[in-house]
Amino acid sequence: MIKNYFLRHAQVFFYSLGQLTRTPVATLLTMAVIGITLALPAGLYVAIDNIQRLARGWEDNGQISLFLKQDVSVAAAEKLSNKIRRTPGVAWVDYISREAALAEFKRLSGFGEALKALDSNPLPAVLIVHPSPAYANPDALQTLLKELRHYNEVDIAQLDLEWVRRLHAMLDLAQQSVFILAAGLGLAVLLIIGNTIRLAVLNRRDEIEITKLIGGTNAFIRRPFLYAGTLQGLLGAIFAWLLLALALLLLSTPIQNLASLYGSQFEAESLSFLATLALIGIGGLLGWLGSRLAVGRHLRAIEPR
């Protein structure tokens, strides 16, 4: 009995596959429409995922700059530096004296000659606080920043991470938008498959009517349509994956060029294995659901007369 059951399912599967190959143009068109529809949110997901991966690298470099008051002596500054070094969450502290700051500024700004005209050094001494890896997240850094700001010698305490935080907020927003877009486009896939299955049901109206008359159950009549819908969803998802792979292949060289200009080894990554499985699974699920809804609705309307 069970063997018969699987045998029958296998027969329906190959029958549905055969039906799809019998109309190759229509099948390819449906597959392409579903593929493009699924590739859009999947592509955005990949883009955001890559930017997040990149931003995570920057976040580790989060550091706090403490600009000291002009009247703080070198000895006092070094004493403060030692004190801060022992604060929990701090890995090490770089001390940049006023002279060193001026020298660096002269070197980097290109205003060297102009600065010689100044009779006093306008730059403050700076303590650059590097947090330990455990504190390298926006919230812990914020707490550390508050703590350091309270020292009397500190004029301005600045977290060089504000823009990273803003980027993260933007990425969160983008990610949420992708989910909303994905939900909308998923609905579109549902409707596309529902419509092709609806046409298939109407095309085979006579067959359905005859099958009902000779004692075919609704489950029996539904089965080939469910297989057809699921197959189309799966093929569409595979097509979407291929589109993504192609796009990434075309973009990989420009991305590497850009990254090397920033001295980075960054390489864009495609969908992970699990995400690929999820994409194909979602494609199949949408196909099944779309055909189930369409067949359920139209099967009831086709009764023998």
């Binding site: 018969n4 006579d206 008359l213 004692g215 159950t217």
Partner: protein
């Protein structure tokens, strides 16, 4: 044993048209009967009630031990598997071979895969079309198409066989061949019910006659002894 029992059955369609009024009828298992009458007399409605395509509006109706008023929708497919139906327009699938058309009821009921070829060929042999199993219905004559329809109706060995104007489009020689097939099934113990207004057929068969007129039972020659 009773195969079909109707007691005070009426069918009124939405809009108030009375297709059948107060029909009392009993057909035993193994009987053969003709349902006749002018078009619009209620022949088709009677067949639709027996096959559970329509439900009676009033009365008690039992077919093959099932009460038609209380038969749940989901049980209807299983109920129909015990009835072989033959249509005037054959209702064959034109994108499938003769073999596949006849095999359809076996596939629908989930018959054993190894049994299917043997049973399909037995049914085709019965109607004399064994040599045409690989052909498509369009290439067959009207009489041959009707015989494919008959083979499909009997392949499941149903205890009840219904035919709606089975000889409607056939000349008398072909009609006689079809009638002989039905008589053969009757002799094998199958209950056969044929709706027709072909009096040549009815006269030749010498079986029970149930005549309808404007939805009422006009004449019933009763069970043939």
């Amino acid at each position: 044993m009773t195969m079909i029992n109707f007691a005070h059955v009426a069918k009124r369609y939405p809009g108030g048209f009375d297709a059948l009024r107060n029909i009392n009828l009993n057909i035993d298992a193994g009987e053969m009967a003709f349902i006749t009458g002018h078009s619009g007399a209620g022949k088709s409605t009677l067949l639709k009630l027996i096959t559970a395509i329509e439900r009676p509006s009033r009365g008690e109706a039992t077919v093959n031990g099932k009460n038609l008023l209380r038969l749940p929708r989901r049980r209807i497919p299983y109920f129909r598997r015990d009835i072989g139906i033959i249509f005037q327009d054959h209702k064959l699938l034109f994108d499938r071979t003769v073999y596949d058309n006849v095999a359809l009821p076996l596939i629908v009921t989930g018959a054993d895969q190894k049994e299917i070829p043997r049973r399909v060929r037995a049914a085709l042999e019965m109607v004399g079309l064994l040599d045409k199993e690989r052909m498509y219905p369009v290439t067959l004559s009207g009489g041959e198409q009707q015989r494919v329809g008959i083979a499909r109706a009997v392949v499941n060995k149903p205890p009840l066989l219904l035919a709606d104007e089975p000889t409607g489009n056939l000349d008398s020689a072909l009609s006689d061949e079809i009638l002989d097939l039905f008589l053969g099934f009757h002799h094998h113990g199958v209950t056969v019910l044929i709706a027709t207004h072909d009096w040549h057929l009815i006269d030749r068969a010498r079986q029970r006659i149930i005549e309808l007129k404007q939805g009422e039972l006009l004449r019933d020659t009763g069970q043939k002894k």
